[in-house]
Symmetry: C2
Subunit: 156 residues, 2 copies
């Protein structure tokens, strides 16, 4: 279970609760402070689980990716939100390129489509998130059935 | 009703839903992109409501405060999270000082106590949030009774 908490504070508390409820992975925002990421990472070993850092809103994604993996994150999500995707000049290509540049494990989320998923995978992404394609939160390679809330920050 | 959504994406959609449900103010994270803040602001006039930008995690709070008020935010929240408050050397004083430096309407949240609220008010804050003091989400000057979730990002 992927608990997309997008935690911004109280990292250890939020992660601990989610892991305790059965989450396998939780997300923390990359714009959160290092102490929040360290807190969430500290909660993971007790449960044998992991922390993913969502880099939405982070300007220098490769640099922050390396920082948070050094802090103990399992991988990062190279993520452009719906609002960013709607901005003039947005290109999905920036996300897998940022992943390649980072040199750490990463996923990509930002408008991945049937036409672009091959390029995302070729760049080395371990997961391509196709939320805006399906609008039900399916991840490519998993069976459908999950539901995604479109308000709030929790996607489970 | 203060809907502390801490929106990071889909600004117009999230704000529109919250205003439609009766929120008077919604929060957007200052680390969100400008297009997310603009989207939330766009939803406000339809309902006669307002947007507050929460500056948790923002390095240069005065500069970002001025930017987001120029984009249409009612005021900003000079906010240090629980994790930041626990870091060595943290001082609440930085928050009202950032508000004074910004020169725009602001609230302060970051461990305000009975002993510090006077200084926060003297700095010109329109609201002092005393969440960690009460742990039930009361705001100074309002009657008690609200409840605050300590996980997740919604405080209503």
């Amino acid at each position: 279970m992927f608990a997309d908490l997008k935690t911004m504070d109280a990292g250890e508390l939020e992660a601990d609760i989610a892991f305790g409820e059965g989450a396998d992975l939780v997300t923390v925002l990359g714009t959160a402070g290092d102490s929040t990421i360290v807190g969430a990472v500290a909660a993971a070993p007790k449960h044998g689980k992991g922390v993913v850092v969502d880099l939405i809103g982070v300007a220098d994604k490769p640099a922050r990716a390396r920082e948070v993996v050094a802090l103990g994150a399992e991988f990062v999500e190279m993520h452009a939100g719906l609002d960013e995707q709607a901005e003039p000049g947005f290109s999905l290509d920036t996300l897998p390129r940022a992943g390649e540049a980072a040199g750490v494990p990463f996923s990509v989320a930002g408008g991945v489509s049937a036409g672009s998923v091959a390029a995302v995978q070729a760049a080395g992404a371990r997961t391509a998130v196709a939320g805006s394609l399906t609008h039900v939160g399916r991840r490519i390679g998993r069976p459908p059935g999950g539901r995604r809330r479109t308000i709030g920050s929790a996607t489970i």
